[in-house]
Point group: C2
């Protein structure tokens, strides 16, 4: 943390990053050998120390909030970075949930005695060092550190500058807990400098860092995809679709669509584009629009939808290709009438971010066809897209929601923080 | 294939790549829905057509060989790109082996009925489009196309320019087989232009390509790691170590070391650095060096090893940090005396590429400690490093040997060409 924001030269940054990486990697080797009991004991200690240090944490957070107000951040952003006693208690309570989860490390699979004389097994092991780049949510600091430590990984945290005071205290408490148990405190390191060049450098630290998780918006995801020489888990961007098939139950459909759009519009699994089969469009479009309008939703619509809705007093804007490629994160919905299920699937293939898509239909053939043809992390029949979530999927924990296809897809749980190594025993065995 | 080497503008290249990607992605959706029988039937057709077109294939290969000779390529390189009747028969025979493998697509796991009312399952599906960049080995063209098609993936092939005539005929035969079964021939596309900007562009084609596999040397691996915005499977670089522990059986050790170094020195799982515990170094170093010397091995040695070997007539060179970070791919071996097992592990952590490491010991504690502490794709006790191979591991096929930790590690088989999607059924179910 010795790098100064203003005059940090590239050489200083490189030296800082090398040290950061070396310390993390060294710590990771110790973490990797801990038993489940030792790791759970560590998490309990962290939980206790966070509770003991609640007033210092809240005081640091108050500084962040004051700075945010002084800097004119929006109320929504301030709400995201705010901690109070109840929220902190929630963060601490979540640690107990993680303690209760099964440890995915040290399992052996694919064990066999091979013809060549080797006894071979595939053992699950920690990834090593995980780098996480995130925005102004102090809860992520604790969540990610706890999930990394539970799986025997070291972690490098780069949070948003808006929560720097909170993050410093939170990471200090976690490092203190490690230290109190004679464990390497560098298993958790916070990059406190807001210097942007440090992020670029972190993304090239492939000698020490095994995985990068960007938890933030589109710009951060693209930055990581384009600049990182370390494997990146892209995710958390959901341009989600729901198709009302010609055989959907139109009465029941309205509630599911409202749930997908309105229940929590600011998250990645909220509905962005409603596709409606033209055979039911005349009946359904005004009906669903009226209900959503009553819930505060405004619309970006195709020409045909506009025909059904104009003059009814709704907030409608003509949609273009760009609107249909937008993750709204608000009470806004794209609506498009499609010729048939194939046109809907083609639209999804063109515009989806590969997160979550749904079909509402009473036709088992349409349901099966949609599931087979749509290639997204989660595909639903007769359900809201809002279910794409680690807790809803019964995974116990959520590291991120991956929209890429390698390593992990959809809600990522503890397993996604592991890899495996092949172990083979011989008797001075040579290859023939 | 319409891009000309000399005057291809960036705009032309971009247009070419967009078309290539769109066609591959479109084909991938058809491939993904094929049954195992359909896919095996396709592979049989490819096998038959390759046999039927043997003379055209060998004639094209003869052009490549003639050009290679004219261009002064080494005998070793010419041998790599050479096809003859026996080699072609071997390539075709391997297709039958792939046909016999179980299809990993369409398996469902983690199926459960959730408290929220959803029935959830995780179905294995193809990755989609795989891009493979490789060097002058025409067998890779067939191998990779067959493995991709077996798993329902489309593939974009970018082989070395030295085998372009062979690759054109091979890919045309495969595309003809697809076409004859009314399957999209663009499931297999060859980039015939040697234009380097096409590789850079391919690495940024993340809208269409789901995974990049570079099969080649260090320079190609780094290029892909640094430039690709698509997930890359790095691999095939093995700086492999073997530790002779103080409790090793020194007589039996010699054969294992000779096997690891000499049996096939040009491949990634061959031994690069021999580490010897100082307690047995005086007895063992001259013994093993004499045997390896008789097999034609020359040595890069630490100072202590030099003391044991000087004046004995072996080919020795003083080693430095760089020699200990070299993948020799030849009858060359680094030798270093280490203070103890921890010093050996520290050396491995610093110099290994994470491929394969071995310990020779009769001490069960040392064996277990080494396996736990060494973090490479394959770790051996009392066996040669040469076993790190899909066939030797009983996997039936090998796509590549991954030295990264995400998605797949070590020998990658058909499973590594798959991902999964989450499928959920509700009854117009909303999130509470």
């Amino acid at each position: 943390m010795s790098v100064n924001q203003d005059d940090a030269s590239q050489a200083q940054i490189n030296e800082y990053l090398q040290g950061l990486g070396q310390r993390a990697k060294a710590a990771s080797f110790t973490l990797a050998t801990l038993t489940s009991t030792q790791k759970n004991n560590l998490l309990s200690t962290i939980s206790e120390r966070l509770a003991d240090n609640a007033s210092a944490i809240l005081a640091a957070n108050a500084k962040d909030v004051a700075a945010a107000k002084a800097n004119g951040l929006t109320d929504a952003m301030i709400d995201r970075l705010l901690l109070d006693e109840a929220r902190l208690a929630g963060i601490i309570g979540d640690i107990d949930n993680v303690i209760a989860l099964a440890d995915p490390i040290g399992k052996e699979a694919a064990s066999q005695l091979l013809d060549n004389g080797l006894r071979l097994t595939q053992r699950s092991v920690p990834l090593g060092v995980v780098g996480v780049i995130y925005e102004a949510r102090p809860n992520v600091t604790v969540d990610i550190a706890v999930l990394a430590l539970k799986t025997g990984n070291a972690v490098i945290l780069r949070g948003g500058k808006e929560t720097i005071e909170s993050n410093k205290v939170l990471s200090d408490v976690i490092r203190g807990a490690l230290n109190s148990l004679n464990l390497p405190q560098d298993a958790v390191q916070l990059i406190a400098s807001p210097e942007r060049a440090i992020v670029s450098g972190l993304l090239r630290l492939d000698k020490y860092v095994d995985m990068i998780i960007p938890r933030g918006g589109q710009a951060l995801q693209r930055l990581c995809a384009e600049q990182s020489s370390i494997p990146v888990i892209l995710g958390g961007i959901g341009i989600c679709h729901l198709l009302v098939d010609k055989k959907a139950d139109l009465n029941r459909a309205v509630d599911v669509i409202a749930n997908a759009k309105v229940q929590r519009p600011t998250v990645c699994n909220a509905l962005d584009t409603l596709l409606i089969d033209q055979q039911v469009a005349a009946a359904f479009v005004p009906k669903v629009a009226a209900h959503l309008h009553s819930l505060g939703v405004k619309f970006y619509v195709c020409e045909q939808t506009q025909g059904y809705l104009s003059g009814l007093g709704f907030d409608i804007t003509p949609a273009d290709d760009e609107s249909f490629s937008t993750e709204w994160l608000s009470l806004t919905l794209g609506i498009k009438v499609v010729a048939d299920i194939d046109a809907a699937i083609a639209h999804i293939r063109q515009h989806s971010s590969g997160h979550s898509e749904a079909i509402l239909t009473d036709d088992i053939h349409a349901a099966s066809y949609f599931m087979n043809q749509v290639d997204s992390a989660a595909v639903y029949v007769n359900a809201s897209t809002r279910f794409t979530d680690g807790a809803q999927f019964g995974l116990g924990a959520e590291v991120a929601v991956s929209t890429q296809k390698l390593h992990a897809r959809g809600p990522m749980a503890l397993d996604a923080l592991t890899t495996y190594k092949w172990l083979a025993w011989g008797d001075y065995t040579c290859r023939g």
